[in-house]
């Protein structure tokens, strides 16, 4: 391949170097020319390579290795691979009542957290979209819980939801009502955990929705109000359809995140076991993977559980994608 046929590179090189007539000058020019050409061709790959190399080691390889691990028996005492067992680990996990329970818990906590979260976030965003005084202050205020780490959040809420001396139960008691056994009753524990998740993420999502709402051309509202649409009607027939891509985005990301909840159920357990309650009432599937894989060192079973959960997440994410598209399309009409 000749280095002289590429006009753009040639132009660059001539522009860069003052014209020189002598032989050493020419040689230097050619060398520089070549270097510049390699620079141009290789640099793009060089710049993206750190990402791909590191991702291969800490992202792709572990994911594929999970699949491999799930097909083998593991000798827990010596950390060595045992025999190939095919789908035995999958069979074990899928018939394990604890894993089944964890899947139900995961889904239940996800529903209790994501649905109210999206509804409230959209409502808060709609209010922030009005011409508020000190709008920056309001936006920052709704984001406040986001700076509290999930660990801190669950410990704080743990003091509110404590079965004996928790603030909520003491208040219920003072009002003559029955105390709620937050750490014992399955659905109440899910509600408590969903509450913490919602507390931390609602304001964050509200800001994402707000950004989408601010991009809606104001003329559309103008036209709608000329047609006699009130504020509520405008919200449903203008705002909602216009923020549809954001809606889909938020719902997909909170599906992927919400089905992997770990910190809250792990630390909500105030006994040293920390396996999601004495009867696994609020053990999520991610917690199951941790307990099986890291604490009990059943690598195969934990990996099989991880793949099952992965498929569940993908399925529910696709399902939510379809539902959101369908629901927001209807509201255009």
């Amino acid at each position: 391949m000749s280095t002289h046929t590429d006009p753009s590179v040639g132009a660059t090189a001539t522009a860069a170097a003052p014209a020189g007539g002598s032989a050493p000058d020419r040689r230097r020019l050619i060398r520089r020319h070549r270097r510049s050409r390699w620079d141009l061709k290789l640099s793009p790959y060089l710049y993206i390579s750190p990402f791909f190399l590191l991702f291969a080691v800490v992202g792709l390889y572990p994911l594929l290795y999970t699949g491999y691990l799930s097909l083998f028996d593991w000798n827990r005492a010596y950390y060595v691979r045992g025999e190939f067992v095919g789908l035995d680990n999958y069979e074990f996990v899928l018939t394990d009542p604890v894993f089944q329970k964890s899947l139900v818990n995961t889904f239940s906590i996800f529903v209790m957290s994501s649905i109210p979260q999206v509804v409230v976030a959209v409502a808060v965003a709609a209010m922030l979209d009005r011409r508020l005084r000190a709008s920056t202050w309001w936006r920052m205020s709704v984001l406040l819980p986001f700076v509290v780490a999930p660990t801190a959040a669950v410990l704080i809420f743990g003091s509110l939801f404590a079965d004996q001396y928790g603030l909520i139960n003491q208040a219920l008691d003072a009002m003559g009502l029955d105390k709620i056994r937050w750490h014992v009753d399955r659905w109440w524990s899910h509600l408590a955990i969903a509450g913490m998740v919602n507390w931390r993420w609602t304001g964050y999502n509200a800001l994402i929705f707000l950004a989408a709402m601010q991009a809606v051309p104001r003329d559309l509202y103008e036209a709608a109000s000329l047609d006699g649409a009130g504020r509520v009607r405008q919200f449903f027939s203008v705002t909602l359809p216009m923020i549809r891509p954001t809606m889909i985005f938020v719902i997909i990301t909170s599906t992927i995140g919400g089905l992997q909840i770990f910190t809250e159920p792990r630390l909500f357990d105030d006994t040293p076991n920390r396996e999601g309650g004495p009867d696994h009432q609020y053990m999520t599937s991610t917690l199951y993977i941790y307990v099986k894989g890291i604490e009990d060192q059943f690598y195969g079973r934990a990996s099989a559980a991880a793949w099952v959960l992965f498929l569940v997440i993908v399925t529910i994410a696709l399902l939510n994608f379809a539902i959101t598209r369908w629901a927001t399309r209807r509201s255009v009409a």
């Binding site: 009005r130 509202y221 997909i252």
Partner: protein, 288 residues
């Protein structure tokens, strides 16, 4: 449709858009609800263990925060954990910003074979729940002999697909192609062009990416729990703190003083850079 009329109407609508008491009332309720748990933790964290269980509870902060803080320092290696969190978060955030800016610039502005496929791969990996791969990641770290080191904590977050995506989006608008061409005409090498054109233009996005990665690593609990044994980050220290006093009722004055101490650094960051955080989320940031 005539433009002047329209814009006049828009203005009149916007002045009538001033919200009433109902909106302010609801927003106040939401903000109070957001702040209350945090306030509660500071109240309880500054009272004695005995007062913490009282009902009705104290509603103002007490004078025992320093006592509680001393007990926290006696129970867990707080300063060490704080330093560890600071190191890991800073290293990860720096590395993510550097590598994402490089890759994002390449994807946004340079022409090369495989560019579209590469970018599609990045977008796809954003949706992959890598958390599920903790077991093999644990094995990798063990085989590398990195378990219980800060390197093991940092390594998985040295690059993020989101970072590459975010920087690509920003740089493709923020850097004019003419500027790159001009720099090349002046004889700049590729890396010099990157340094003198892309980096200055990308600075606001880089700052936001740094903030978000820093917070993401700082607040992470699951991976440090897997990768560490004796070493502690702040979140692991909180985990240990919550386990003290087992068998009796939890000592919430101690625990909540600890959560307060662990939250103060991020609160300070929030006060200093809250505007940038809001701007970053509104520019289309994704959950960490």
């Amino acid at each position: 449709m005539s433009a002047p009329v329209l814009s006049g109407r828009t203005r009149s609508r916007r002045t009538s858009d001033r919200p009433g008491f109902l909106v302010y009332g609801l927003l106040v309720a939401f903000v109070v609800g957001s702040a209350l748990p945090l306030y509660w933790s500071f109240v309880i964290g500054s009272h004695t263990k005995e007062t913490a269980d009282d009902f009705p509870p104290p509603i103002l902060p007490g004078g025992h925060f320093l006592d509680n803080a001393r007990r926290v320092l006696d129970t867990v290696e707080f300063w060490q954990a704080l330093a560890n969190s600071l190191i890991v978060s800073t290293v990860c955030a720096t590395s993510v910003v550097v590598f994402s800016t490089l890759a994002g610039y390449s994807f946004a502005k340079l022409r090369f074979r495989g560019r579209n496929a590469g970018m599609a791969f990045v977008v796809m990996t954003m949706a992959v729940p890598t958390q599920l791969a903790i077991v093999p990641l644990f094995i990798v770290m063990r085989d590398l002999g990195l378990l219980d080191t800060l390197a093991a904590v940092a390594l998985p977050t040295m690059v993020t697909a989101f970072g590459v995506f975010f920087m690509r989006q920003y740089l493709s608008d923020a850097v004019p192609d003419e500027l790159i061409e001009a720099a090349r005409m002046d004889g700049c090498t590729m890396i010099r062009t990157f340094w003198t054109v892309a980096v200055p233009a990308g600075r606001p996005a880089m700052a936001i990416l740094f903030l978000f990665t820093f917070m993401q690593v700082w607040t992470d609990y699951m991976w440090p729990l897997v990768a560490l044994q004796k070493t502690e980050t702040l979140q692991i220290a909180l985990d240990r703190l919550a386990l003290t006093g087992q068998g009796q009722t939890t000592d919430y004055a101690l625990v909540l003083a600890g959560t307060g101490m662990a939250t103060i650094p991020l609160l300070a960051l929030f006060v200093l850079a809250g505007r940038q955080l809001v701007a970053g989320i509104m520019q289309g940031a994704v959950k960490g």
